[in-house]
Every structure is written in C-alpha cells, then in structure tokens.
Chain length 343, copies 2
C-alpha cells in the first residue's frame, strides 16, 4: 500500500497501524491507555503522512468545566481569570465547581458533567480521582490538570509552575544575602509542588556547600495558622534561623505573626520569603519577597491545551511547566550582625 | 387588529410581524442570523405586547450565569461559594463571566447568554446596563442583583448588605471608644453602598452630638492605593483624626501603610475600622476590626430568589438586605491620652 499524499483519517491510520480506531483516537487525543509501542507506531505514521479529522462536528456544548478542590482565598480568582480569558475568545462559558476538599463530591459532579457533555474539563490542584479521569476519557471529554498536586496513575496533560526551580531560587536569594541558617516550612508531604520546592531548597544549600540541618525543616500544610505554629517553633529554638522560606504566601503570613509575637522585626531580625505572589500579599507590611507562580498564565495555557485536545489537534507539550520568578520586595535582607535576638 | 391583552406566543408574533416562526424564534433566542430590521420589528412587538413561551418546557439548560464586574481579590470567591452552594443542591452549573470593568463586554456576553438560555442570571456589584436588563426580561430570563452598586431604572430583585447600618455601627464603635475626631474614606461617589455607609457615619456623629468636619471626609475608590493616599492626607493635617473609618477592607490596608510610613502605631496612635471582613484581611497585623458583610449568605439568598423566579413562584422579598455585623479585632482602641504624635 502506498502512502497517500493527503493527511490520513483515523480509520486510515488504524488500518495502517493494524490497531482499532479507538486506539488511534486515544493517541491523537493524548490519552495514556495505549502501549508505548503502539503510540510510537501511530505517531510515526502521523509524522510521515499527517492526520486529519474524519468529520468536523461542532462540540456538543460550548462549556468548559473548571473544577476546584476548594474555593478559598484569591488563588481561585487568579486561575479563573486565565481560563475565562481564553474561553471568552472562543465563545465558551466557564462553569465552576467547588469540591469543598471532599473526594466524594467529585462523583456527584462527574455524573452531572458527563450529562452536560462539556468541551473539556480543567481540574485545579487536586480533587479528581483516577477513576474519574477514566470516566472522562471513556466519553472522550478532554481533561487538563492545572497546578496538579498529585501524580495521576496515567499521563494526563498538565500545566504546573517551575516549583523545583522556584525553591532553588528562593533559597539562593537568602544564601546570596549572607544567610547560613535558613529554615523551610514545607507544604503537605504528599503534594508534589511542596516536595519539589523542598528539593530545590536542599539542592541550593548543597550547591552552596551548606549543611542541611534537619532541625530547620518543618512540615506545614500551606495554611496561615500552620505557618505561624511552625515559625514559632523554629524561632524559639536555641540556635534559631535568620531566614525562613515559607514555601507559600499563606505560611509566610503565619511567619509574620510569629515574628510579631516574638518581637522580631522583618527583615532586620528575620528574613522571610514566600511562594505564589498572590495579589492579597502584595500589601503585607513589609511587602513580602516571594516566588511568583504565573497562575493566570498557567490557567490560560491549560485552557489552550484543552481546546487543542477538543479539536483533536496534537499537543506541542504534554506537560507544560511555566517559569517561576523571584519578586524581591522588602521582607528579605542580610542577616543581623552581631546577632541580637529577643530570645 | 387590536392588541391582545395577554403576552404573545411565537406564532402570534410571527403573524403580526409577517415573518416565519423560525425567524421569531431566532430573535427571542438571541441568534444572530436575522436582519437588524426584522429583529427591531419583532422586538418592538415584544416590547408592546410581551412574549410568552408557547409551552412550558423544562429549562433547556441547567445553568446559572454569574456575571462579575471584575474578578479581583477574594470578594468573587466569597460570592461564588454562596452561589455554587445553592446551585449544587439544585443540580445547576454556575457559569462565570468576567466583564473586566468594561460596559461593552456586557453586550458580547448577553448575546451568548441569550443563546445559552440559562435558568437565570446573577449580576454582581455592577456591570449590566438597563438595556441588558431589558433584553433578559424580554426573554423571560430571571435576573437578581447581588450587592448592587447602582439603582437600576426598573425594580430588579436584589440582595444587599445593610450598608447604612454598618456605617452607623462602625462609627458608633469608634465614638464609644472615646474618639471625637473620626475621619471617613468613602468609596466611589456614585456607588450606593458607599453612599449608604457615609450616611450611616453622618447619622452616628449627629446622634452623638458631634459635629461633622468636612475636612475629615475624603473621597476614595475602594482601592488600597487610594486608601493610602487619602489616609496620608488626613494624618498629615494640623489636627489629624484619631480614628479612620475606611469603608472597605482594601482602603483599611492602605491606611495601615500610611500609618506605618508616618511611624504611627495601630491601634495605640490610630484606630482603623474597615468594612467587608474578607478572609484575606483577617491576618493583617494587627488584625483589622471591621464590619462584616455576609457575602456568601447574600449570594446564596440571591440564588434562592433566582430559583423562585425561574419556577414562577412569588418572591417573599423583592429587595433583601442582610444584616452587617461589627467584628472587633485589634485595630481599634481608645484614642491616645495625652496626644503624642510623630508629626
């Protein structure tokens, strides 16, 4: 059989590859349930001949479902802005669901969502189970994860921030200022963004030839109150840190409270660096130095990926990681010399 | 032919306009493929006679449209939580639109919204014009306003906070602490919530037998930066106030910054009270005393009203005003005795 000169349909690709049309569909839609060999074979055919959709149906609805683990703080607003920006350009409505931290809520949502037949689903941070991912895949409803907390069992397209690099940059900033005793308050142990930031911290210390003191690593939960408790614990040690990497902005606010309670001035007595750069923290006193995650751009990029998938177009990147950026404000400074501490 | 007394069906409209029922259907469903002249003729008939759907079908979609003037800060999250809470109980999806402070954006939105035929529309703070209200009304799509900034030309059901009473309570709290020189930073002059809070302030002063000093009333815009500028102006007067009612939480944060810049301690040298009680301000240092608007409950109540309207049930209240509440934290205290000021 000679190669046709025009791009191949799914049926033609299936015939050439000796697999089912369903399998080819999975490959072109970026789904994971295909063996690496089959995927490679189909992708090689597409590379050689091109691929065209069999028929151009209009999507059944003009809706993107945006699913939040929880609606809290201004993080959801930054995400929603990015999604609505792209959706609006394509005349799509954005439907919001709040799972209230409740895994069971996802099951209720998905029954309704499948009936609505959305153009696609964007899931933020955490919330959908592998089983729910499968149910969407079986209906060929594309899914993209924004800022995923977990590593799903199968490869699902996602957009994250450069968490590891952000952790590295935050810690390096403190090292460059002259700090040697740098503490970290991590996020939830199971959340990948949290782990990546911690690994970046360790690597920055290591590259600078500084030891990692286990007493300066405390486990947090990304909440303000937890940040306060952990910071109080760190700052009342016999040899307290001169700087704290709070790993998110909420915990940094908690550190501010612990410092105020202990009579420590920021940044004179203690440097603090956050992570996120949410609008609400730009007006802390002093303004917080932090690592900016481009949440709105991440959400916009995820929406664009979702539209590619919905139109059966190949994704340029399956996992996209957008760069984080150091934003220096006024909460970091060289460590105090000589050490003067209230306790 | 005399005008019928009851609203017209599509068939009657088609007959009167001399066009097909399909054309009338396109007009009432907000579709674009109709000449401007035909659309104008049909809409004029609907304006004169009204329009009723021929048969009562179950709603074509199960969607509530939630329209924000702007997606900024955590205010939209508090509103969305209330709407999704009720919508979820009724298996309705909440679709979000961001008008980006742009009145023209409402026209683009409404064309799409009419085609989606939502169960109803919730408009927050400001954004939809009287003309847009009319277009929804003509399609029998119910509309409820949440925290409306303007007084619409026609009576549209709405849910607000007790703004006047909140202004009264905030000012009385400061008077009760012993303050006599109490300044106010108002919101936008044209926004009704802002005017109501100012009127409450005036009445509280008047009832306490205190004069209203025009030099202590400054115009704001509900933004942090504006709050800072106005507070700096107030606090550098020859006889500065000992307390400032910031009328929203954002402006209160601006006051904190002006005070920090002038070396004034809150609440020792200056008392500050906000309005809103958004989650993001509960962790200011010191924690802000404020007037709580029950935004989530307001949004939930508006959604319930919308569902009543969608089911052609009478509303118990056409305008609902939910009580505000004084939340005393740590930014208010008796005025300093004797006066000691850095400037």
């Amino acid at each position: 059989m000679t190669a046709p000169s025009s791009p191949l349909t799914i049926a033609q690709l299936a015939q050439l590859a000796g697999v089912s049309t369903a399998t080819v569909s999975k490959v072109v839609n970026g789904r994971a349930e295909v063996s690496p060999e089959t995927r490679a074979a189909v992708e090689e055919l597409i590379r050689r001949h091109g691929y065209r959709r069999q028929r151009r149906r209009s999507p059944p609805t003009t809706l993107i479902e945006l699913v939040f683990h929880a609606l809290e703080g201004d993080y959801p607003v930054e995400i929603t802005k990015g999604v609505t920006q792209i959706a609006h350009q394509h005349h799509l409505l954005v439907g919001i669901t709040d799972l209230h931290h409740d895994p069971a809520a996802g099951d209720t949502w998905i029954d309704a969502a499948l009936a609505r037949r959305p153009t696609g689903v964007l899931a933020v941070f955490s919330g959908l189970t592998d089983h729910q991912h499968d149910r969407l895949a079986r209906r060929e409803i594309p899914l993209v994860l924004i800022d995923p907390a977990d590593a799903p069992a199968k490869t699902i397209p996602s957009v994250s921030a450069g968490n590891w690099h952000g952790g590295l940059t935050a810690t390096r900033h403190l090292i460059d200022l002259g700090h040697r005793r740098i503490a970290i308050i991590t996020g939830p142990d199971a959340a990948l963004p949290s782990r990546a930031r911690l690994d970046g911290y360790r690597t920055a210390l290591d590259l600078a030839g500084l030891p990692t003191d286990p007493g300066l690593i405390t486990g947090g939960d990304f909440l303000i109150e937890g940040g306060r408790t952990q910071a109080h614990h760190l700052l009342t040690q016999p040899d307290p840190p001169t700087a704290i990497f709070a790993t998110n902005d909420g915990q940094a606010i908690g550190v501010y409270h612990a410092a105020a309670q202990l009579g420590l001035r920021i940044p004179d007595d203690l440097s603090v660096i956050g992570f996120d750069d949410l609008p609400s923290i730009r007006w802390t006193i002093p303004p917080l130095t932090t690592i900016r995650q481009p949440l709105t751009q991440m959400a916009a990029a995820a929406t664009t990926m979702l539209l590619h998938l919905a139109h059966h177009e190949p994704l340029p990147h399956h996992r996209l990681e957008l760069a984080t950026e150091l934003v220096i404000r006024a909460s970091t400074a060289p460590p105090p010399h000589p050490r003067r501490r209230t306790r």
